[in-house]
């Protein structure tokens, strides 16, 4: 047997459940999962890794679309898996598609922002896709498979 320097893979999954706290943190009102939401943004907006919080700036507007978007279904807890003795992945994917029903979004949009509405709308991730418009129709955004290589959110060590 030998020891191997590594970041513990369990830690990666636990980061997603706020198990560890190295600094000041918000006071959590409950031990249940936070509520996450998904808002759509115009192709002309500027969302990227620097985005820190949900904003209506650049968000789509239109018939039957509510500012802030839809609630993300979160029925599956984050998972962490070792890929070797020195590497692993913590990952999570929402458990249902995001569906915007019978909307009219006439201006092209190409981005969805996932954010934490429980924690002051703090941003989680920005995902882009080919530009779309919707006319009296439904926009469905289906999540990737919840695996170590394709999950919506992945924290990986190498």
């Amino acid at each position: 047997m030998a020891n191997t320097q590594s970041m513990c893979t369990s830690f990666l999954g636990e980061l997603m459940t706020a198990t560890h706290n190295f600094g000041a943190s918000p006071i959590r009102a409950a031990t249940t999962a936070d509520t996450f939401k998904a808002a759509l943004y115009l192709a002309s907006a500027t969302l990227n890794a620097s985005t820190t919080v949900y904003s209506t700036t650049g968000e789509v507007t239109g018939t039957n679309y509510t500012a802030g978007g839809v609630t993300v279904t979160n029925a599956t807890a984050p998972t962490s898996t070792n890929s070797s003795t020195t590497a692993g992945v913590g990952y999570w994917t929402s458990s249902a598609s995001l569906v915007y029903t019978t909307v009219t979004l006439s201006t092209a949009f190409d981005t969805v922002l996932i954010y934490n509405s429980t924690q002051s709308n703090k941003a989680v991730s920005v995902h882009t896709f080919g530009s779309q418009t919707i006319t009296a129709g439904t926009f469905t955004l289906t999540m990737p498979s919840n695996t170590t290589t394709t999950a919506l959110l992945r924290l990986a060590t190498t």
Binding site: M7, G130, Q132, A136, T142, L153, T157
Partner: protein, 63 residues
């Protein structure tokens, strides 16, 4: 089939249907449009995300 349109619910037999798809490394997308006398009255789209950005390269300190 009844389709929701900008003119209300209509039977699709009265409409011209157009469909399309895109498939690349990032997404698989399909869309359907219904047109009435040259006017777009319905468009829906279904985007399936394939692969997301990953935070990679985290490492522990060496002593």
């Amino acid at each position: 089939m009844i389709v929701t349109t900008t003119k209300g619910e209509m039977d699709d037999s009265l409409l011209e249907k157009k469909e399309g798809s895109v498939d690349n490394d990032n997404e698989s997308t399909t869309w359907v449009e219904y047109w009435l006398d040259g006017e777009l009255v319905h468009r829906s789209a279904h985007v399936t995300l394939k692969k997301m950005p990953v935070l990679a390269g985290a490492e522990t300190a060496s002593f």
